[in-house]
């Protein structure tokens, strides 16, 4: 599938109807989503024929992109039932078979590293401090091949240090810097749109032996 075609399909997806500010619900635009998944697949072969999880999937844009690029199985996880309803409908519209799980990421019950790749656009931690690192912690426990994630450029050094030292990453690489266009979604937004400098990261987890993880106690 061509990049433009992927971007176009993702552009038709429904987004949050009533975004919840406390969950930092912002749509992952088709421009970023298509490029994230396209890079993951064409540069690193991390998507097609793989098991892919979309953490904090929201309306399911990244998961849908993974399925469109040939992931064998996609699982979308989010805490919010309303978003998952939209994500389910988006998957159905594109005739994609995606399993969705409603759960708080930090208390996800998961067995081992069956998932190959995690893709995510996690909350940045502006509402609940440190939640971006919670997401990364869990992603690096669950993925066996790679984790693709978006984080504010201002946190770059901190993430690089923490990922390798504390979160079980054998490598942490910024693939590129992007401008994340945040639309005027909430009452406290004064401008029509704001561009935030965001890094697209690729983390590789250190391999571990097969075990059942109780992520709630581990966090």
């Amino acid at each position: 599938m061509k990049l433009k075609q992927l971007e176009s399909l993702l552009g038709d997806l429904q987004q949050f109807s009533n975004p919840k500010v406390e969950l930092e619900q912002y749509p992952t635009g088709p421009h970023i989503a298509s490029r994230l998944l396209y890079t993951a697949e064409n540069s690193f072969d991390d998507i097609s024929n793989k098991v892919v999880a979309d953490f904090g999937c929201g309306c399911g844009t990244l998961g849908a992109a993974a399925a469109l690029l040939g992931a064998e199985q996609v699982i979308g996880i989010d805490i919010d039932s309303q978003s998952l309803e939209i994500a389910s409908m988006n998957a159905k519209d594109l005739e994609l078979d995606i399993d969705f799980v409603q759960c708080d990421i930090s208390s996800l019950g998961w067995r081992g590293q069956i998932v190959d790749t995690v893709v995510m656009n996690p909350p940045f931690g502006t509402r609940k401090k440190g939640v971006d690192m919670d997401f990364l912690f869990v992603a690096l426990k669950v993925a066996s091949r790679a984790v693709y994630s978006l984080h504010k450029t201002s946190t770059r050094d901190y993430i690089k240090r923490t990922a390798k030292r504390d979160l079980n990453a054998s490598s942490a690489e910024v693939l590129c810097e992007l401008r994340f266009g945040v639309p005027q979604l909430y009452k406290f937004h004064k401008k029509k749109e704001v561009d935030i400098a965001v890094d697209l990261w690729r983390f590789v987890p250190r391999r571990s032996g097969e075990r059942t993880i109780n992520l709630r106690s581990a966090v």
């Binding site: 998957a91 759960c103 019950g109 998961w110 081992g112 059942t212 109780n214």
Partner: protein, 141 residues
């Protein structure tokens, strides 16, 4: 929900020591054919908990998967076992039902999402789209 997903999920209830596998309470199973991918199956085989998959597929009404996992070398040549593995892992869908924590018995329901839309104003044709999501825990904001 596919059994591949079931093979990854474990109970997240506090205090539970071994929450895997979740027990399946079947209300409705649907079979959806999907193209077989031999390489994918061979790669994922070592990561799958075979007993959990075999037991789950039996509960879903599919009895062809052997209880004892095959040797990895068998998967290289035996297309029939690959087909059965493929069917159990990816083609059986739990459409309605619940997953139960094996220690506490607490149930996690599968929820179907319906959207009824009118196809056109003239014909008022109803299209019912049924979608699945699995719900863990209760959240209120």
């Amino acid at each position: 929900m596919r059994l591949l997903t079931h093979n990854m999920l474990s109970s997240n209830i506090k205090g539970v020591t071994n929450g895997f596998p979740l027990r399946i309470q079947v209300e409705k199973v649907v079979e959806k054919e999907v193209e077989i991918n031999h390489d994918f199956l061979r790669n994922i085989f070592p990561k799958i908990d075979w007993k959990a998959l075999s037991d789950a597929s039996r509960i879903m009404g599919y009895n062809e998967l052997p209880e004892v996992p095959p040797e990895p070398s068998v998967l290289e040549s035996d297309i029939e076992i690959l087909r059965k593995f493929h069917h159990a892992l990816l083609e059986l869908h739990l459409e309605e039902g619940a997953l139960l924590c094996p220690e506490t018995g607490r149930s996690f329901r599968l929820i179907r999402v319906f959207r009824i839309c009118f196809y056109s104003r003239m014909r008022f044709e109803k299209m019912v789209w049924c979608l699945i999501r699995l719900r863990f825990g209760d959240y209120e904001f």
